[in-house]
């Protein structure tokens, strides 16, 4: 410890510190805030612009892009919901993602738990087999996958999408929950076994409740991942009646016929964003901590 010797030569006590630093600190604060505000503007303005535009007439969008709508045009929204089928795309998304999410969580946690807490021949092999799926780009599988789904007669059906979504969500779910189940204490599980609990009983009644924080994290992660699917439905879901939201909206914006209806497209875009925004406003803390906990460990 040389601190005592050093002190007279280099006084860096908290009392001395603020004086020289405070002026550059003040300027630094302003710069920091400017930078942060700048990025906030960059993030929010395009989103707000889309929402405001969805309430304008096409004329207003073209002639006065910076003003609020003179009269909010809510019929843009109803036109998008019914005529442009945003409503049915929405329902399709909800059905497919909801079911796939439940299935992913159930199957994923079972596999992860079995691999994390039991020793048996082939355990490591199975683990790596599952986790390898994280590395492989979906594009590699795309062509054969199309024919697998077609041969099973599942092309363009809800079950087809649900099963494929689940299968592709499994690798990360297993990987994440595997490490989570490993960290749970063994004592409680052993006590349950001694009390005569079955293997399945220990899993459902003891380990799953203990793993709740991990399940919530990966659940949110999976929900967003599944909701964001685009490539899989694009290839496996050719029937326009079964389009999921992102797929349907993208198809609308690409199709030449709808290009002229700017206000309708903005309305569709806003409808597509609003539920996510609403969920985020309500659960933003859980969503952010859940998603980042997944990556930080």
């Amino acid at each position: 410890m040389t601190a005592v010797v050093d002190r007279p030569a280099r006084p860096v006590t908290p009392v001395d510190q603020p004086k020289p630093a405070s002026r550059t600190g003040r300027a630094g604060d302003v710069a920091a805030h400017l930078f942060l505000v700048g990025w906030a503007v960059l993030v929010t303005v395009p989103l707000l612009w889309a929402v405001v535009s969805s309430l304008k007439t096409d004329r207003e969008i073209l002639t006065s892009p910076w003003t609020l709508p003179a009269q909010p045009q809510f019929d843009n929204w109803s036109r998008a919901w019914t005529e442009a089928s945003i409503g049915s795309y929405f329902v399709n998304s909800a059905i497919v993602v909801g079911t796939a999410l439940v299935l992913t969580m159930l199957l994923g946690s079972l596999v992860a738990y079995a691999l994390a807490r039991y020793t048996f021949p082939g355990n490591r092999l199975l683990y790596y087999l599952f986790v390898a799926g994280i590395l492989f780009p979906v594009f590699l599988a795309l062509v054969p996958l199309f024919f697998v789904v077609e041969q099973l007669g599942l092309l363009g059906t809800y079950p087809g999408l649900i099963l494929v979504y689940t299968a592709y969500a499994l690798p990360f779910t297993v990987f994440f929950l595997h490490s989570f189940f490993r960290t749970l204490p063994t004592a409680i599980a052993e006590a349950a076994f001694i009390d005569g609990c079955s293997h399945a009983g220990v899993f459902f009644r003891v380990m799953l409740p203990l793993a709740r924080p991990g399940l919530v994290s990966i659940g949110i992660f999976n929900f967003l991942g599944l909701w964001n699917q685009y490539l899989l439905p694009l290839v496996l879901n050719p029937d326009p009646d079964r389009y999921v939201l992102a797929q349907g909206l993208a198809a609308l914006s690409v199709s030449q016929g709808y290009r002229s209806d700017w206000s309708g497209l903005f309305a569709g875009l806003t409808i597509a964003m609003l539920p996510v925004l609403a969920a985020y406003v309500l659960f933003q803390r859980q969503i952010r901590s859940g998603l980042t906990a997944g990556a930080v460990r």
Binding site: V12, P14, P18, D29, F35, L36, W39, A40, V43, V45, P46, W49, P65, W66, L107, V111, L115, Y118, F120, L129, F130, G133, L135, F136, P137, F139, L140, A141, V143, P144, F146, V148, V149, L163, A167, Y168, L170, P171, E190, F193, S198, H199, A200, F203, L224, L231, A246, L249, A250, S253, W262, L269, A272, Y280, I287, R288, L291, T292, A295, V296
Partner: protein, 308 residues
């Protein structure tokens, strides 16, 4: 433990088999088939596939559009992760350590929570929806970006962003960065919060400035997160399909300027029915991704900094 033995294998079978079956049918078997298909001339229609060896790969090397796809994906692989991580780190550091409270030099900035909430949102939107939004932003006449430039008198800077071969790819990359920065900012921010205060205060007491503290102490402690972020973002950049497919018209934007491997694959398979050829692109993309992940994890391996 005798109690644990009872019914162990029956439980294990019940727990693993359903997931494994689904995974084997829809993930493992397609991946395995892809390698064989890439060596055939399968067009799907005749149902007959002839083995053609490495023919498809040889043709890929002469495919002008595929070569631009390789070049574009390569550039995206460099630019998107670097820009996103740097911005994410900077914003996270500003929010966590940009403020000051009394004599504490490294304090959270006022309103930090608001910034995290706002920045994170684009991450929740699916990429095709983000792409539709930015298609409007970039629109040459009615778009937000040109409208803004004209409003502030910078008419000369207004461009047909997605129609100009020199700009289109950068416009697409900007969208990817825009949508990802918030997530990585929050991620890095959470990691920064877990750094013990006394480590940072010790650095400040030793006379380290903010930049030095960030570079020498905070970033090394976050290195695991940065590495993970780099791999995730690299995979995102090797894809690029959704934004390109929705935002840029025609095959791969103006003059193939935004062509990416995924788009070429999708077009070859599902527009032209050249399934064997498309599978070869998939295999190429797989090896590129694998090589990238290995290189990224090895090159960025550093001595782990442990706190405890």
């Amino acid at each position: 433990m005798a109690a644990m033995r009872h019914g162990k294998y029956r439980f294990l079978a019940g727990a693993i088999l359903p997931g494994l079956l689904l995974y084997a049918v829809f993930v493992l078997s397609p991946y395995a088939q892809a390698f064989y298909l890439s060596l055939t001339d399968w067009t799907g229609v005749s149902g007959e596939a002839h083995f053609v060896g490495l023919d498809n790969f040889r043709r890929l090397l002469d495919d002008r559009l595929f070569l631009s796809a390789l070049r574009n994906n390569g550039l995206m692989l460099l630019v998107v992760p670097l820009a996103t991580i740097l911005l994410g780190l900077l914003l996270a550091a500003l929010v966590n350590f940009g403020g000051r409270r009394g004599s504490t030099a490294l304090a959270g900035i006022r309103g930090g929570e608001f910034y995290k909430i706002a920045y994170f949102f684009p991450q929740l939107l699916s990429l095709p929806i983000v792409a539709v939004l930015w298609q409007f932003v970039y629109h040459p006449n009615e778009g937000l970006l040109n409208g803004f430039l004209r409003a502030v008198g910078l008419d000369a800077l207004a461009h047909a962003w997605l129609g100009d071969p020199a700009l289109a790819l950068w416009a697409v990359m900007a969208v990817l960065v825009w949508s990802s920065v918030g997530f990585y900012m929050v991620l890095f921010s959470a990691a920064m919060e877990s750094i013990p205060r006394d480590v940072l205060e010790a650095a400040v007491l030793d006379g380290a400035g903010r930049l030095a503290t960030l570079r020498r102490i905070i970033v090394p402690l976050l290195w695991d997160n940065v590495q993970v972020a780099f791999v995730y973002l690299g995979v995102l950049a090797l894809d690029g399909f959704a934004v390109v497919q929705v935002m840029t018209a025609g095959p791969g934007g103006p003059d193939g300027a935004t062509e990416v491997i995924g788009l070429g694959l999708y077009r070859s398979a599902f527009t032209y029915g050249k399934f064997g050829y498309a599978a070869a692109m998939g295999v190429t993309l797989f090896f590129l991704t694998l090589a990238f992940a290995v290189i990224a994890l090895r090159a960025s391996r550093r001595e782990r900094v442990e706190l405890s």
